[in-house]
């Protein structure tokens, strides 16, 4: 499917208007695009203004300058109901909906489509059912919201926005309260929506791993720098992510794609079985070592299998370990 620009912002200034005509500018000049069929992840430290950006793009608060266009039409020309058919949101706000069932909440997503009294027709019921299915919560249709866990509640909110049938979906930290499995489930679901239904998905997240893994595009927002955008791998390789996360004691490692602390690294050679070597390297990095190509100048390990690891010390002695834990212990005793 051809990728279209669904949302674009030109010279967008976001921030707040204060009393007395003053403005608090969070960002003066943003140029952004959202494409159909793509999942865009918005990353940034707390206070960088992610929520402000999302709220401005959804017209929950006014921009300070510049223009926003949705489907080619300036956002301010949209009526409230037109906008409700175009952009759906999932936020972190608490609701007062404890007393209604899952089905009733998801059916609220049909509001922009139903008549004056909110009567649901057969087609509406089909869509609601499909939305419940898509997030996997049909079995709890008649449960009250107050009886759900945080993760289930989040899924219900996503089901609601699915029922709204908007081409653009904006989510503010949708994976925040979810457990590991649910997080991945949600991201997979969002990707599926993007690919299968050609939707534009924009979400803000602190989940760096999943963003890199699942995002078609990353937006890096920080207070003092212009917004960086691009495919995750490009941003890793051109050191954008590294400089983005550079903070006292934190470093983004472009080889592993992980954040770590830049302690002085003692090199340890790693070779052997691919899988074991990868995870041995992970453990070594955590302990402050630098996994490197084996050399006679420093200690090296040879991963024969996950339960058999040879340690060749720099002074020539050889040790054996039956697990990565044991290997780490040996290294700590010997090298220090």
């Amino acid at each position: 499917m051809k990728q279209q620009i669904t949302l674009s912002a030109f010279n967008l200034g976001i921030g707040y208007r204060l009393r007395g005509g003053k403005e608090k500018v969070i960002h003066p000049n943003l140029n952004l695009q959202l494409y159909s069929g793509q999942v865009t992840c918005l990353l940034g430290m707390n206070g960088a203004g992610k929520s402000t950006l999302l709220r401005t793009l959804c017209r929950f608060q006014p921009s300070l300058s510049g223009e926003i266009e949705i489907m080619g039409k300036p956002i301010n020309l949209f009526t409230q109901s037109e906008l409700s058919l175009t952009v759906g949101v999932v936020l972190t706000e608490k609701t007062n909906a404890g007393g209604i069932t899952v089905f009733e909440l998801v059916s609220l997503g049909r509001h922009p489509h139903t008549g004056f009294f909110g009567q649901l027709k057969e087609e509406d019921y089909k869509i609601i059912s499909a939305s419940l299915d898509a997030v996997g919560i049909t079995h709890k249709s008649d449960t009250y919201i107050s009886e759900l866990s945080d993760g289930e509640r989040q899924k219900v909110m996503i089901a609601k926005v699915l029922a709204q049938e908007c081409p653009i979906i904006v989510l503010d930290e949708p994976t925040a309260f979810l457990d590991v499995t649910s997080r991945i489930e949600i991201m997979i679901l969002l990707r599926k929506l993007a690919k299968e239904q050609n939707k534009s998905i924009l979400l803000s997240t602190h989940d760096l791993d999943l963003a890199i893994q699942m995002g078609d595009c990353l937006w890096l927002q920080s207070r003092d720098n212009p917004m960086k955008r691009g495919v995750p791998e490009d941003l890793i390789l051109d050191n954008s992510l590294e400089s983005f996360f550079r903070k006292d004691g934190i470093v983004f490692d472009r080889t592993t794609g992980k954040l770590s602390s830049p302690l002085s690294k003692i090199p340890v050679g790693v070779e052997g079985d691919f899988n074991t070597s990868y995870w041995a390297g992970n453990a070594l990095t955590r302990e402050g070592y630098l996994p490197s190509t084996p050399s006679a100048d420093y200690t090296s390990i040879k991963c024969v299998s996950p339960t058999e690891i040879e340690i060749k010390y720099a002074n020539g002695t050889v040790g054996h370990a039956c697990s990565i834990e044991e290997m780490l212990k040996c290294l700590t005793n010997r090298i220090l």
């Binding site: 929950f60 759906g88 949101v89 706000e93 007062n96 069932t101 609220l108």
Partner: protein, 335 residues
């Protein structure tokens, strides 16, 4: 299924409403045999004329007034509780009934006019003034909690002016105002009933039309806006509806406490749901039931005296509120 259960509950409430209505016709300070009451209603009665006059000119309009006033106040309370996401909101909290009180106090005490028509008009005027001020502030203050506080302050302002008026007034005038403040369903005669009924019914119909946005508001104003609800105009409509219902009930019946606060909770507890599609009709029914019950209880069996209405309503209302507060962890609409 769920909807069948709900329908059963609604029918059950409807039956209780009719029963209470019938009780209010059959039971009063004066003992009139049930058979006679029925004959009077069907026009085949041939006994004491005073009995017919009492049933048709006193008890009947009083029961209808109680029903409509109870429903009006209950819906007022529900609208405010949903709009402000605050289960302790009620018609008195925004100062609208205090405004009505102030209007009547000014008319009775300051201008010494206590006629039927002026009392009603001044109550409406007072409520309208406070309502306009409230709506003005609703545009300026986005935060609901802050807005509620402004409403409470308006109520205090009105009360303080009333205190000043009372302080300088003669005992007679104070007494007259205090009597008005006791609450009274008997003040609307058969002739005046159409006026009262049209205002009340208009307000109730408006509330039915607001069901869709009220449900959206359960998610909060941001989500509701995203679902296409025009927040500012919806807020104003809800306030207008509340204002109309509260002002009508207060103007014709005096200030009545607790019904607006407690009945929405009774409705939610009965239904077990916050879905306004069922909640609005059930609140209307429950409001009528509670008011009719309170009206019955003003007649002390065995004695000739009547108790003031506002002494009875807290007896019903306060335990409900306490129950809700104590049990809130187990009540789903609280979480």
């Amino acid at each position: 299924m769920l909807s069948l259960r709900i329908m059963k509950k609604q029918i059950f409430l409807g039956i209780i409403l009719l029963l209470l209505f019938a009780c209010n016709l059959a039971y009063g300070s004066l003992s009139i045999p049930l058979k006679s009451v029925i004959e009077i209603l069907f026009g085949s009665f041939e006994g004491k004329q005073t009995w017919a006059q009492i049933v048709l000119q006193s008890r009947l309009p009083q029961a209808v007034t109680a029903l409509l006033a109870g429903s009006s106040l209950a819906i007022s309370g529900l609208l405010l509780q949903t709009l402000f996401k605050n289960p302790l909101a009620g018609p008195s909290i925004l100062g609208i009934s205090d405004g009505a009180n102030l209007g009547v106090a000014i008319a009775m005490i300051y201008f010494s006019v206590g006629s039927y028509v002026t009392t009603i008009l001044s109550a409406f005027a007072g409520a309208a003034v406070v309502l306009i001020i409230i709506i003005y502030f609703s545009k300026k203050v986005q935060n609901n909690v802050m807005f509620l506080i402004i409403g409470i302050m308006m109520g205090y302002l009105a009360s303080s002016v009333i205190s000043i008026l009372n302080y300088h007034a003669s005992a007679d005038k104070v007494h007259q105002y205090v009597m008005w403040g006791m609450g009274d369903f008997s003040g609307v005669s058969l002739e005046k009933l159409p006026y009262f009924a049209s205002f009340a019914i208009a307000g109730l119909i408006l509330s039915l039309l607001l069901i869709k946005p009220l449900n959206a508001l359960l998610l909060g104003e941001t989500y509701a806006a995203n679902l296409g609800v025009k927040i500012k105009s919806t807020r104003i409509l809800i306030l207008l509806c509340t204002g109309l219902l509260t002002a009508t009930a207060t103007a014709f019946c005096g200030p009545i406490s607790f019904i607006g606060l407690a009945v929405p909770h009774i409705a939610r507890l009965t239904l077990g749901s916050s879905n306004h599609k069922q909640l609005v009709p059930v609140t209307i029914l429950a409001g009528g039931c509670v008011a009719l019950l309170c009206n019955l209880l003003t007649v002390v069996p065995g004695s000739n005296s009547v108790l003031p209405l506002n002494a009875i309503t807290p007896i019903i209302g306060a335990p409900i509120i306490i129950y809700v507060i104590v049990n809130r962890k187990n009540i789903q609409y609280f979480n």
